[in-house]
Subunit: 421 residues, 2 copies
């Protein structure tokens, strides 16, 4: 599958990566970047801060790859030996770079701190290497051509690594992989049906245009991933068409693209419609409201809410009539009353509510664990739903919080349509 | 640092690990397990689902290591080639294991589904290998001794991998690493001071007994990690003493050990004291209450709360007097009123509140971003705090939610002390 002419090898360095203390996050990030320029990662090796292990890994990987990206081991202390190891691997000496030394001195002066002498180790690179100066931090990276292979050594700290990877490594690799098909992925985020139902709705689209389908399930919904390998402009065109097809098919199940969250979508629709929101939460106990408050500026449309976790609170704080509660606290009727009460108490345009059984079952529940009721109250209408969600306590609560925000989204989308229609 | 006689190499297999779609979580988990039996991971390699890449990685790693743990590539489809690659690497043929074939057939019958013929591929292992039967799923693992090196192949699915690692691999390795010093880590979770202050409180303890100190900061507080390398019994004894010293020094800053969360601690103390809790949240907008509701059984002590996100809600729902709000909604006085009001409305024993400025700053705020006020109201006393928290919007909100739960914990601890004193 992996072609030799697309091969980028990764070498990550550090005892802490092998002891389980730190998990590398640079590779998954870089992999997506590389696919976009027609490259792919052919192998990953992780070795300790040990000069011999690094030397043999660098030699072996550079013999087989178009590029080797090394991360870590560029710090100032004596256990950081990547500079020495790369020099040794290719029989080069280390040379001091005056500009970098100056930059490190200036950095410490700007912090008002004395520079430890050890930091001067960071101003050395193998002879012939091109220095990648640090934007933050003190560790410069460097790049070296060895028998047709680009060897790039970058700091392990993710912000520093990413900055240098984008500014220095990607431009170098772009020309080497020019002409290769690129691989681009788009994400369409849906909420409201399960993975197999969603996949079933799209079956007849598979394989028509070379677009690969992937599905990613989480409490936030199912994300449809569309990936295509093609020449750059062609890939975008194919994806534009495929995305339009998928979105037409899925209709209002689609709530956003890329990394946009449900609360961001609901927030921006509330703002556009100039509507305010209040929440009455039992099962979700504040999770839905807290999610809404994650969005900067949410105080313009978010009034607040009542967490009516106990039956007493439903009765006394929200004023739900005793006869509605007679058949239990988990029902569409209770959810409707909760939504109506919170909308009226908070004088909001929209009231939404959750009640349900999170589990684990203890035997005394009125309904099975996973039962969730939602209510929506607006000036125009009052609606409620009852459903059964899968998963453990936290998953049921998370999905229910999303479901509550989703009914608000659907209401707002439909009223935006009516307004513009 | 890594001794040869402690060397376990990891080989993870799968295109999806190199394309950035899936992040391996088995290694960090296994590393901790291995350290406890005196072993360490000396190298990680990740290769694609490609038979030649796997063969050469298996050969190279097994030549240098006490054990090679391989994960992934044991599925039923044709791209899963770990079985074939391991057999090829050591010149062995694949043999069919009847019991496993039977187990796979039974598994599909129990699901009421027809068994795809491809699944029978999973019943083959290299000749001479010991089969590790699957508990869930259909992929068996296998273990093989090659010239003094244990080669263990396990499924990549974390639950299946972990089950087999603990039940089959660890017992095999325990004898091979017997006599090695083990490495054990304990976690002491604190809340209430920053990392450098906490470290400063412990400085004179460092290095006295060979215990290594580490500090891990998150919105949930600072975790002190104590790690010792020693003979098994000795390690536990040294840690018992060190932990007692640290806890005496840190006093009520310590809220839990290991993986116990703040909400679990507060929940169990509320239960022991037979006290109920209600929350008035502005800044945290339900996050603190939702955290409390994460704990199964929380409905026995959690009454609920009011999310008074707007000034109007503070006035109208909680009934905070207009003159208290005249100087703004972020003040100790407002926090006290909120805690008192919610305690009284929900007829709870304890009321706790949050109000503050989450940021990002837009210029119109009454106080700087990060300003947080907390209030606590009980039958015995009313207390409030004002503090300034670091970080972005979500970090400020998360730390504030923790801080609110922490003041409840401190109140309950002190009243438990008084009762037993």
């Amino acid at each position: 599958m992996t072609q030799v002419n697309q091969a980028v090898a990764f070498l990550t360095i550090g005892d802490e990566l092998l002891s389980g203390e730190v998990q590398d996050t640079n590779l998954p990030w870089a992999a997506v970047r590389l696919r976009r320029i027609g490259a792919a990662i052919s192998e990953l090796r992780t070795v300790p801060d040990d000069i011999e292990s690094i030397v043999s890994a660098v030699r072996e990987l550079s013999a087989d790859s178009t590029a080797v990206v090394i991360t870590g081991g560029l710090g100032p202390t004596l256990d950081d030996v990547t500079r020495e190891a790369v020099a040794l691997a290719f029989g080069l000496e280390l040379v001091r770079i005056e500009e970098i030394e100056e930059q490190i001195r200036t950095y410490f002066i700007s912090l008002g701190r004395e520079m430890p002498l050890e930091n001067l180790r960071q101003a050395k690179v193998p002879r012939g290497a091109r220095v990648v100066p640090p934007k933050g931090g003190t560790a410069p990276g460097f790049m070296l051509d060895v028998a047709g292979c680009l060897v790039a050594a970058l700091p392990g700290v993710p912000e520093e690594m990413k900055e240098m990877f984008d500014s220095a490594v990607i431009p170098e690799l772009e020309s080497r992989f020019a002409g290769n098909p690129v691989s681009i992925t788009r994400r369409i985020n849906t909420f409201g049906v399960g993975e197999s139902d969603l996949a079933g709705m799209l079956t007849d689209l598979y394989g028509l245009t070379g677009v690969r389908y992937g599905f990613l399930a989480s409490p936030s919904g199912i994300t449809v991933k569309l990936t295509v390998d093609a020449a750059r402009g062609e890939a975008e065109r194919v994806l534009d068409r495929e995305q339009a097809l998928v979105e037409e098919r899925l209709g209002e199940l689609v709530f956003s693209h890329g990394s946009e969250t449900m609360e961001e979508v609901v927030g921006s629709k509330l703002r556009r419609c100039a509507k305010s929101l209040a929440l009455a939460e039992s099962l979700t106990a504040g999770m839905a409201c807290s999610r809404m408050a994650n969005v900067p500026g949410s105080s313009t449309y978010l009034r607040g809410g009542v967490i009516a976790y106990s039956e007493e609170a439903k009765r006394e704080i929200l004023g739900i009539p005793a006869d509605v509660l007679r058949n239990g606290t988990v029902s569409r009727e209770v959810a409707e009353e909760m939504a109506r009460a919170v909308r009226s108490r908070f004088r909001a345009d929209i009231g939404v509510s959750t009640t349900g059984v999170a589990g684990p079952a203890t035997g005394g529940e009125e309904k099975p664990a996973g039962t969730v009721c939602l209510g929506l109250s607006t000036a125009e209408s009052e609606v409620s739903w009852e459903t059964r969600l899968p998963g453990d306590r936290n998953m049921v609560r998370s999905i229910a919080a999303n479901a509550a925000l989703n009914v608000v989204r659907l209401f707002l989308e439909r009223s935006l349509e009516t307004r513009s229609g």
